[in-house]
């Protein structure tokens, strides 16, 4: 592949390594540098940052920024809010997504095709035309300005239903049929037999749902007013507005916001990229 695509490798090697490193290393560093700077500056003091030109490598690790963030602000509360919202949304998607996905994959009921098509159709509705009425709906439900407003609209997404439906369709029917023959109910079959087999698909749904929920800014911005109910993303944005010159603290807060997602990504990188590309290439 390499050879055919990009020309033949030089017959005589001038370098002890592939010459592609000379291009790829600087290019990938370009992508990583802003994040390196984020990490470094979060361990600096404001004096070091506000100097011009700024210090590049801090002489030692200063935790002033982190101390400021954890003591003075509502940051721990925001972190907790983000964890609660993400956790409940992920569980909701796994439970309701599995139930609906299983019904669409294995059961015949009136209107199932229409319903499925309608759900697929909702994927193309842009957020900005639903955001104002969704705000009003959440207000009528009495959950606006609470974490409930952030949870309810994402409790189950068409993405989760479809991904799980596709996965259930790919499983052999025989085991489930045997279970039904033994008088096992549909729900029990799903729980005892299908779910353990569906772990990879459930993992994909969990990781991608966590990422989108954790990173969301637009909806919390609209739905939440009380700063005790902010999510981390919303909190970070306001925090930056209020502490414009305290960059060390802002970057420490930014690190705290980014870290869970980075950990989740690095832990599940393969799952992650596979599910993204499969939705991309086949979409």
């Amino acid at each position: 592949m390499t050879m055919q695509l990009m020309g033949r490798e030089p017959r005589r090697r001038f370098l002890p390594f592939s010459p592609w490193h000379l291009v790829l290393l600087p290019v990938s560093l370009l992508f990583a540098l802003p994040l390196f700077w984020l990490v470094l500056s979060s361990f600096m003091t404001n004096a070091q940052i506000n100097r011009f030109p700024p210090t590049i490598i801090p002489d030692s690790l200063h935790l002033d920024g982190y101390r400021f963030v954890l003591n003075n602000a509502l940051f721990p509360q925001w972190f907790l809010n983000s964890v609660i919202v993400s956790l409940v949304v992920v569980i909701g998607n796994l439970v309701f997504g599995s139930l609906a996905g299983y019904a669409f994959a294995r059961m015949r009921f009136r209107g199932s095709k229409t319903l499925l098509a309608l759900m697929l159709g909702t994927l193309v509705i842009p957020f900005q035309i639903t955001m104002i009425p969704t705000f009003l709906l959440m207000k009528y439900l009495g959950v606006i300005d609470t974490l409930g407003a952030l949870i309810v609209p994402s409790l189950v997404t068409p993405f989760a239903v479809f991904l799980l439906r596709q996965f259930f369709l790919s499983l052999p029917r025989e085991i489930e049929e045997a279970a039904w023959m033994d008088g096992c109910s549909r729900l029990r079959t799903l729980w005892v037999i299908v779910m353990p087999l569906a772990r990879p698909a459930l993992g994909t749904v969990a990781v991608l749902t966590f990422l989108t929920t954790w990173n969301d800014l637009a909806w919390p911005l609209i739905a939440i007013n009380n700063d005790h109910h902010y999510t981390l993303q919303l909190g970070l944005t306001t925090f930056q507005g209020q502490h414009r010159t305290q960059w060390a603290a802002v970057m420490a807060g930014n690190m705290i916001t980014v870290l869970p997602v980075l950990i989740a990504f690095l832990a599940a990188q393969r799952t992650f990229i596979q599910s993204l590309t499969s939705s991309g290439v086949k979409g």
């Binding site: 992508f31 802003p34 035309i129």
Partner: protein
């Protein structure tokens, strides 16, 4: 009976087992008494289908997904024909919002900014994604690390990106100006400069968005049949010829998908603008969704905001239909 119908067309690997154990019809008849809804009347069956409990399974998803998409979509259309501040009762004003919108210079400039952003962002992310994917599509040491480094910005939230780049491009303390000064370039205004702010947003969009194009193209490249590439090599095709006549046509569906996807993303730009510039300086980065948000939730012209959102939604619909049509047309040409 759930599986009497399916058993007419048994799946290949079930066939042999069926023959040994029991015929499908025998299996069905043996099992009749234990099936949970054997007492179900034909009327109920006709009304709810063969497995009525399926409705219980899909109900939460149906209520939430359809209830929070189709209902708001229609509601929004109604709202766009009203004068509403979200608090006092709305008043019906027909198409006035749309008429005012067509003469509103602020909306027009929001449309222009959105189009400039899209016109820069989409071609650059597709070209950049393709070039990077071609470079990263080889088996050398550390290639996994390079791919990870290129992709990692994609998982960083818009809020975190915005805060980080506000810092990097800070006109006074930012490292960007320090780096430029090493090269003898004078300090820039960046986000404070109305000529640079939108371009900077494109740059940040590319930083975080290219990784997605790269992984999608990489998957596309790995799907190209080896035989095709080998045949091209045997026919004496050089690198460019192979790319032009084998790789690029094979990647066309991926390119069309990315073009649609990235266009939709670009037209809906909001988070990054909100965090970095709030539409400024001098409204130079006010894009359509920011305009909608500002009208609805800051100025309390919800009806007017909804109308602007609908204008954008129609554009998105036309873009995706148009590009899908173009794809179908192209594949027909290639096939014929």
């Amino acid at each position: 009976m759930p599986w009497t119908k399916q058993s007419r067309r048994p799946t290949p690997h079930s066939q042999r087992a069926d023959q040994v154990v029991a015929s499908p019809s025998l299996r069905a008849s043996l099992n009749r008494p234990t099936v949970e809804h054997a007492d179900q009347s034909p009327l109920a069956k006709r009304l709810f289908g063969e497995t009525p409990e399926a409705w219980g399974f899909v109900l939460p998803a149906v209520v939430i997904i359809l209830g929070l998409s189709i209902v708001p979509m229609i509601w929004s259309l109604i709202l766009s024909m009203q004068s509403s501040d979200l608090v006092t009762p709305a008043r019906w004003i027909g198409l006035t919002n749309y008429r005012v919108l067509s003469h509103d210079p602020a909306f027009r400039s929001a449309v222009v900014h959105t189009l400039i952003y899209t016109a820069l962002f989409v071609p650059l992310s597709i070209a950049g994604g393709l070039v990077l994917a071609l470079m990263l599509n080889r088996r050398i040491r550390f290639i996994g690390l390079y791919r990870t480094m290129v992709f990692v910005p994609f998982v960083i939230s818009a809020a975190a990106q915005g805060v980080l780049f506000s810092f990097i491009f800070d006109a006074h303390f930012g490292i960007a100006n320090a780096v430029l000064s090493w090269f003898g370039v004078g300090p820039q205004g960046f986000f404070a400069d109305s000529n640079q702010a939108l371009l900077l947003l494109v740059l940040i969009g590319l930083w975080s968005g290219l990784g997605f194009c790269v992984v999608v193209y990489l998957a596309g490249l790995q799907d190209i049949q080896q035989e095709l590439l080998e045949a091209a090599a045997i026919d004496g095709a050089r690198a460019w010829g192979t790319f032009r006549y084998v790789v690029w046509p094979a990647l066309r569906p991926v390119t069309v998908f990315l073009a649609i996807w990235e266009t939709l993303q670009a037209l809906q730009l909001f988070d990054l603008v909100f965090v970095t510039t709030r539409g400024g300086p001098l409204e130079s980065t006010t894009v359509i969704v920011f305009f909608v948000w500002n009208q609805a939730f800051q100025l309390f012209n919800a009806g007017y905001g909804a109308a602007a959102a609908y204008v954008l939604a129609f554009t998105l619909l036309i873009v995706s239909i148009g590009l899908r049509f173009a794809r179908r047309h192209q594949t027909e040409e290639v096939g014929g």
